[in-house]
């Protein structure tokens, strides 16, 4: 038996809850405020077109303004999360289907995610974008803010049409942002692949809406909630939605566009795409699965669960093998998306078998991790952006030792690295902890086999998390530590002031989210509560201590934890320097007495990935070039190929090619044949009519 879900928080937490109730009179309709802010984003974007070439206007005015709007959105979403849903209708769209909007706790959580991350990224972009990089700054500003606005619209849309419009505008805007450097063929290819898969996904989502619709012209989400679908059709709707949203989220095997597109974009855009845009897909899955379809059947969860676990492992393993820092981060995003969808699947299963508390727990874990990932991944991506600007280098093999040249970027990035590696007391750990706690109760699911298999999922999640730590050591160590692998890295410069602000904002987010889990969870739990998945929280012992499920004594108190470590470290430092001395002498590295040490002797990115490539060989299609002892200029090269790309997509394309070739035979340019076609068609139709 599972005890009731209890999180403990006292005054600060409940203050965070009661404050909005006080403010609720003040802002009668938060949704309208959100819509205003979205409009503000659009106007900022359009303002960019006024003087497309002026960096002063765009960099010093517009982007900071955009950041402010983002922050405001985050604040509103935060303080109104406990309010009941409110809706509004805009008289545009299809004749009998105006744009419906609705704000509820679920939207709030993701709006907060979007606003907070966007604030950091925008302020960073203010210092980041420079002239003469492909698209004109003004146009860039437009695309950027349209991207933000459309993401926000996706989160508040309340009917299929406005949702799809916002959804595809998002894809379109991001596509143009990805192809900023359209002169490079590989970037064009990336953009093409991205938009193609995004569009296919969108059509799948569209069809799923088509299944869920409540009848003629009944495309509002309310109608869909009301519509009573036969289980089979509901299942089809969910699977279609899963395919569509999976394509956008980069769920394996629909992930191929992601590692191409994310690196191709300018770093702040990569940050938004990885940190926020992928989450809109998560939002869609939750909206359809739990809200529109009511998450009735437990077996729906199996799809996200299986795909999620596979994506998690697949993504992190490939991340370990990458040599391009942004590709590495992109694959790590696939991993995190995998973890998120695993959680969704778990929540669906729990919900389907009626274990309300655990469903709530899993859902909260998912939302928490989504927010965390938004902060960490944005932080890391903008960090790579600064590195890219400072060195003009994306290849890990040509970086190194940057912690001396760019301390700000290095230390903020270190926070992100530790967080995404899931280390306490930072935020990444909390969400994974919650997810593991949820998994720990999975054996109580009253389904044969499932109750055996689910706990193994925990093992895979743990494996993914551990591998993430490996990847992150590689990422940080190779870029920032060791000796510079290139001479010109010596004159790398640190981030500009605005960039620093952005970095610090995101890093601070990682820390705060890590230290105040109770308060965050108290807010997040509004979502399962409003969706009617889980009962409200029961208050309990201490505001600083997190307890997942009462009836199992397990707890985690990050503040205490951090204090303890800090205390010990401080005491150690003090005592060591008191009892002994603090003399330090600088000398050449010892390195077992080897004298002529140079940068090329450190581990390269390939070298660091070697054990993974060795252990997970079946995942990769590898071509190695090994030097023979007699090579005059020995060189080692290894190329990693994605088996899914070569095994699924390439055959698919060539298949269509072949079919097209076969069909082309119909059209040989001979008029007699064409007449024959008409003739035969005529006879056939006449025959039908007889």
């Amino acid at each position: 038996m599972v005890g009731e879900l209890t999180f403990d928080y006292n005054d600060p937490g409940s203050a965070a809850l009661s404050a909005p109730l006080a403010m609720s009179e003040l802002l009668s309709n938060p949704l309208s405020l959100c819509l205003l802010l979205i409009a503000a984003w659009l106007t900022i974007g359009l303002a960019g077109l006024a003087r497309p070439a002026s960096l002063l206007l765009i960099g010093r005015v517009l982007f900071p303004l955009g950041a402010l709007v983002g922050a405001a959105l985050a604040v509103i979403a935060l303080v109104t999360v406990t309010l009941p849903p409110d809706t509004s209708v805009l008289p545009i769209g299809l004749p009998d289907l105006p744009f419906h909007f609705r704000r509820d706790a679920l939207s709030n959580v993701f709006l907060f995610l979007l606003g907070a991350a966007a604030a950091g990224v925008s302020i960073f972009s203010a210092g980041y974008f420079r002239a003469g990089e492909g698209t004109a700054p003004g146009l860039l500003c437009l695309q950027y803010h349209v991207f933000l606005a459309s993401m926000a619209l996706v989160l508040v849309a309340d009917d299929a049409y406005s949702y799809m419009v916002a959804w595809e505008s998002m894809a379109l805007a991001s596509y143009f942002l990805v192809t900023t450097q359209h002169r490079l063929p590989e970037i064009r290819r990336a953009g093409f692949l991205y938009l193609l898969i995004a569009h296919l996904g969108a059509v799948a989502i569209l069809l799923s809406f088509g299944v869920m619709q409540g009848g003629t012209w009944q495309f509002t989400f309310d109608a869909m909630r009301a519509a009573q679908l036969p289980p089979a059709w509901a299942g089809i709707a969910f699977l279609l939605a899963l395919v569509g949203f999976g394509a956008k989220a980069g769920l394996v095997p629909l992930h191929v566009w992601l590692p191409e597109a994310h690196p191709a974009a300018p770093s702040p855009v990569s940050a938004l795409m990885s940190g926020v845009m992928l989450k809109t897909a998560l939002y869609g899955t939750l909206r359809v699965g739990f809200d529109l379809l009511g998450g009735t059947s437990w077996w729906w969860g199996l799809g996200p669960l299986a795909l999620g676990l596979f994506s998690a492992i697949y993504g992190v393993v490939f991340a370990a093998a990458q040599t391009d820092m942004k590709r590495l981060l992109a694959f790590s995003s696939i991993e995190n998306i995998g973890i998120l969808f695993t959680g969704v699947g778990l929540a669906l299963v729990f919900n389907g078998v009626g274990m309300a508390n655990l469903a709530g727990l899993a859902l909260v874990a998912v939302l928490y991790h989504a927010i965390n990932h938004a902060f960490m991944k944005s932080l890391l991506f903008v960090g790579t952006g600064s590195v890219l600007h400072a060195t003009g280098e994306r290849n890990l093999g040509r970086l190194g030792g940057l912690i001396h040249r760019m301390p700000w970027v290095a230390w903020t990035t270190l926070i992100g690295v530790l967080a995404i590696a899931g280390l306490p007391p930072l935020n990444g750990f909390v969400s994974e902890w919650l997810l593991l706690q949820a998994f720990l109760s999975a054996h109580q699911v009253p389904k044969p086999f499932l109750n055996m298999l689910l706990p193994l999922g925990a093992a895979l999640v743990a494996l993914a998390a551990a591998l993430a730590a490996y990847v992150m050591v590689k990422f940080f160590g190779v870029i920032f530590l060791g000796q510079p692998r290139e001479a010109r890295l010596k004159d790398a410069h640190d981030a500009s002031r605005l960039e620093k602000v952005g970095l610090v904002w995101l890093a601070a987010g990682c820390i705060v989210l890590g230290l105040a889990p109770m308060q965050v969870i108290a807010l997040l739990h509004q979502v399962p509560q409003q969706l009617g998945i889980a009962p409200p929280l029961a208050g309990a012992a201490h505001w600083w201590m997190l307890v997942p499920v009462a009836g199992r004594q397990a707890s985690y108190a990050p503040l205490l934890f951090l204090l303890a470590i800090a205390l010990t470290v401080a005491v150690t430092i003090l005592s060591v320097s008191r009892l002994y001395h603090r003399r330090v002498r600088r000398a050449a590295p010892w390195d077992c007495g080897f004298v002529r040490l140079d940068a090329r002797m450190q581990d390269t990115a390939e070298g660091f990935g070697q054990p993974i490539r060795h252990i997970f060989e079946p995942f990769f299609g590898m071509q190695r070039e090994l030097p023979t002892p007699f090579d005059a200029a020995p060189r080692y090269r290894v190329a990693i190929a994605d088996r899914i790309w070569t095994g699924l997509y390439v055959p698919l394309a060539s298949g269509v090619q072949r079919i097209a070739q076969a069909v082309a035979w119909l059209q040989q340019g001979r008029i007699a044949n064409y007449l024959l076609y008409s003739f035969v068609t005529l006879l056939v139709l006449l025959g039908l009519m007889l």
Binding site: W665, L666, Q668, G669, I671, A672, L675, L682
Partner: protein, 220 residues
Amino acid sequence: MMSLDLQILNLLAALFLLLAFAMLSQRRVVGLVDLLAMQGALLCAATLLLAWRTGETHLYVSALLTLTLKVAFLPWLLHRLIRRLGVYWDSETLINIPSTMLLGLLIVIFSFGLAQPIAALASTATRNGIGIAVAVVLLSFLTMITRRKAMSQVVGFLSMENGLFFGAMSATYGMPMIVELGVALDVLVAMLVLGVFFFQIREQFDSLDLHHLESLREDK
């Protein structure tokens, strides 16, 4: 025993069909045009007979149209074109003659079967003509498919038009006047356009053989 004029009408219909078969097998372009002219003549005769029988004035007009256009003008135009362009023979048909005839036979059966229910409904005396008309339309379709020379395709097209008119006549004693005029006008314009066409094609490829016109294709 039906009345004489009806018998004649049926005879004309049969001849009409026969001519269609003749066209299917005829390989000399000049011959084709003559056959076309004869078809026109038959059509005209049938229309006249019908007009006399029913006393519909507009049938006289349409007979007149047929006479001027299909019996006199178009054959003359085509002959002139043939002489000017010097295309007398069609090259080998795409399908050899006997099998074409066989196909034609099947088509005739099909179209008769098709027309029976309609003919049953028809109140006109010439209801059996409908089947013939359908057959002729399809046969000339077949002619167009099997020919290689632009000229013979045109002839096929015109005989298809004849078939249509025959159908209209035998089903409903002809279309409303205004429509008939419009159709006739269209056919006339079409022929003029064709004339221009032939010369353009000739000056491009100095031949009217259709295999020159097979460059726009997808299978390369």
